[in-house]
Symmetry: C2
Subunit: 407 residues, 2 copies
């Protein structure tokens, strides 16, 4: 099964219930998912404003004005920043106005300072005609009363926060971050702080996963290292079903454990294992399942597989659980174009993710494949990103321009 088909299958089995909501101050909402359509209760701005420093005029008074044949206007009162002008502009007059200042009644355009010559204390020459509305933001031009400013499902960006404060929205409903349990298995795994005996290694994957979960905007719950025993792992999985929105079982690299994790998912059931094994490298033995509506993943133990499988399978599911509505089907990630430094062969029918270092040479940027074993954490650390050899391709030739998806 292809990775894409496996993911689609899993997603179809998930219940479509929106996450719980919570209310936060708008300035604390960055990166959270908006849980409501934010609709403006008012126009923004509430009055016509100048976009330049200049003179508010009736546009028709400037018609035909040129440097050779300027229009002469008398001076009316001055407009004070932040205040409503206390006069109405009469025909044949102009009023000095700062950028952002409120247009007086009677004015419908602003002539920039650069196009005005002062004649004396009461008269100016306008050197260039303006049309009605020129250099003006009209009342409601930024936001109209009743207009939706930020849609439900958006990951809130800095400008979304600014639009909210502009219309007086100082708090917002957001979806609660999904909680994701990480269960590490493996009789050889000891905690990071321990001194491993011969035959033992320290936990790597649960820390990498916790950080990736946190980058995805979710809350990681590290549930410790569980012995490779059916009863112990099943108890950890069932316990995590109580306090999580998704479960990741990492490792299970020892003989039979992969099958044991699939068996536990199947035994808990409804609907059990959705896929077990995909045409993907690294990550072939990946398991995906659903247990009573909760997504569960069995990840291969190799660090490179953990990283690839997280991006392909887990992150899209976490986005869904987060309430995120993505505009584009594929998550956009920072990419860099580079030329491949050597031939890569990859059998047809397998999607292959290859870690690369980007090198700046005189001839441009080159992507140099790191062909280390996928069991090594340091090839991931040395890499700048990954390139993908798609399913239906035999490999890539040296010199091909590739998209490096940066970490």
């Amino acid at each position: 099964m292809t990775a894409g088909a496996a993911l689609d299958l899993l997603i179809k089995k998930l219940p479509s219930k929106p996450p719980p909501k919570t209310k936060v101050p708008i300035e604390d909402s960055l990166g959270l998912i908006c849980a409501e359509d934010i609709v403006s209760r008012e126009d923004l701005p509430q009055f016509a404003r100048s976009t330049v420093d200049g003179y508010a005029v009736k546009a028709e008074d400037s018609f035909g004005a040129t440097e050779a044949m300027p229009a002469y206007l008398g001076l009316s009162g001055e407009i004070i920043m932040g205040q409503k002008p206390d006069f109405t502009l009469s025909k044949g007059l102009a009023a000095k106005i700062p950028t952002g200042g409120m247009l007086p009644m009677g004015a419908d355009a602003v002539v920039m300072f650069e196009h005005v010559q002062t004649v004396d204390a009461t008269t100016i020459e306008v050197l260039k005609a303006v049309v009605p509305g020129e250099n003006v933001i009209q009342a409601g031009e930024d936001v109209k009363k009743g207009e939706r400013v930020v849609p439900e499902g958006r990951r809130i960006r800095p400008q979304d926060i600014g639009a909210c404060t502009g219309i007086g929205v100082t708090s917002v409903h957001v979806y609660e971050r999904p909680r994701v349990s990480i269960i590490s298995t493996g009789d050889e795994i000891v905690p990071a702080a321990a001194s491993p005996a011969m035959g033992q290694v320290r936990d790597i994957n649960s820390y990498v996963l916790a950080a990736m979960i946190s980058e995805a905007g979710c809350v990681a719950l590290r549930k410790g290292i569980i012995r490779d025993e059916y009863v112990a792992i099943r108890a950890a999985v069932e316990g995590s079903m109580e306090d999580s929105d998704a479960i990741i079982v990492s490792g299970g690299t020892s003989v039979g454990t992969k099958d044991m994790i699939a068996r536990i998912i199947g035994d808990i059931g409804d609907s059990g294992v959705v896929f077990h094994g995909v045409s993907l490298k690294p990550g072939k033995p990946m398991i995906g399942g659903v247990m009573h509506g909760m997504p569960v993943f069995g990840l291969p133990g190799h660090p490179a597989a953990v990283s690839v499988c997280f991006e392909i399978f887990i992150r899209p599911v976490l986005d869904l659980l987060s309430g995120l509505v993505e505009k584009f089907p594929q998550r956009a990630r920072a990419c860099m174009k580079a030329r491949l430094s050597k031939n890569i062969s990859s059998p047809q029918g397998r999607e292959e993710h290859i870690r690369v270092v980007i090198e700046q040479r005189d001839s441009g940027l080159w992507a140099v494949p790191l062909l280390g074993k996928s069991g090594l954490i340091t090839t991931l650390v040395k890499a700048d990103g990954t390139i993908v050899v798609p399913l239906n391709i035999n490999g890539l030739e040296a010199g091909t321009v590739v998209d490096v998806r940066l970490f």
Copy 2:
């Protein structure tokens, strides 16, 4: 002056002192800047491990083995996950080993299960030869004792955390996040929670800036809205020099205020204003300065200019103050290719940043320019990203493939 030249000039005037350090648990270090070279005190792994489920062998015992002509090996003890084998493998023997298991003394390769046939309880057939080291991660192959695992200056990624826990590093020195003061000016600006009178508008820019600062990994200090008066703004700037690593003065859109901010920077001095005005749209009136070693920016008041100027001028300076060592000169940001939906003209000698919406049509992705005034916050909210018309180009034709830098 071009934006690039202006930024270079400013950066040259900044003192090159590293930020203060602090120590954090490794699991809390994601996204922070590593303040030390992390060097391993040991080999990882500390013993040779199998990368597959199979049989540990002496490779030479398998030489010449094929399906037609298998090599017969006797069975030695079994290897238990997480334990040191209590035997040495003799010539002509094989030992069952799980993925991640420790190779016994005497073994130098692993034959995968798939290439083995069981004859009886004490004998197997090896159907494929292995070379020494095949399917084995050697002691120290991932990390060698004394090797640098994570360099000083790196923004810590999930895999960097994993590499640290793998070698038993459970806490790490990181640089403290720079504190950036935001001083809003403008007599028309009222707080987000206020009801603006006619002529007044709510604060947008200080919230947008605070969120962008936080995205850049720094701490935003919002210093409130200051009246457009020399004494008040100067006091706010001098006060912020006490508790900040950089200062942003936002707004100052009213007549004369732009010059007032430049004058304050000049009066505080050492070295004062570095640039004032750049060939950039939006963002032309941008001010950059240094005061006694502290960078200070005077931002135009239009929201679109705030966003563009932050990315171009402020973010690179904050990266520098953060202690970040970037591998690539230009910050890689998520990009999407799309075709421009209409002609855009832009005078030569000006770098122009245009907000676009990306539309998925039958003919592919199209970038549709949002030509709203740069004073509107909602064009930024509706936009998916920006495209850049470089300095030396007159414009772009409809149909051109452009890189949309996503927000």
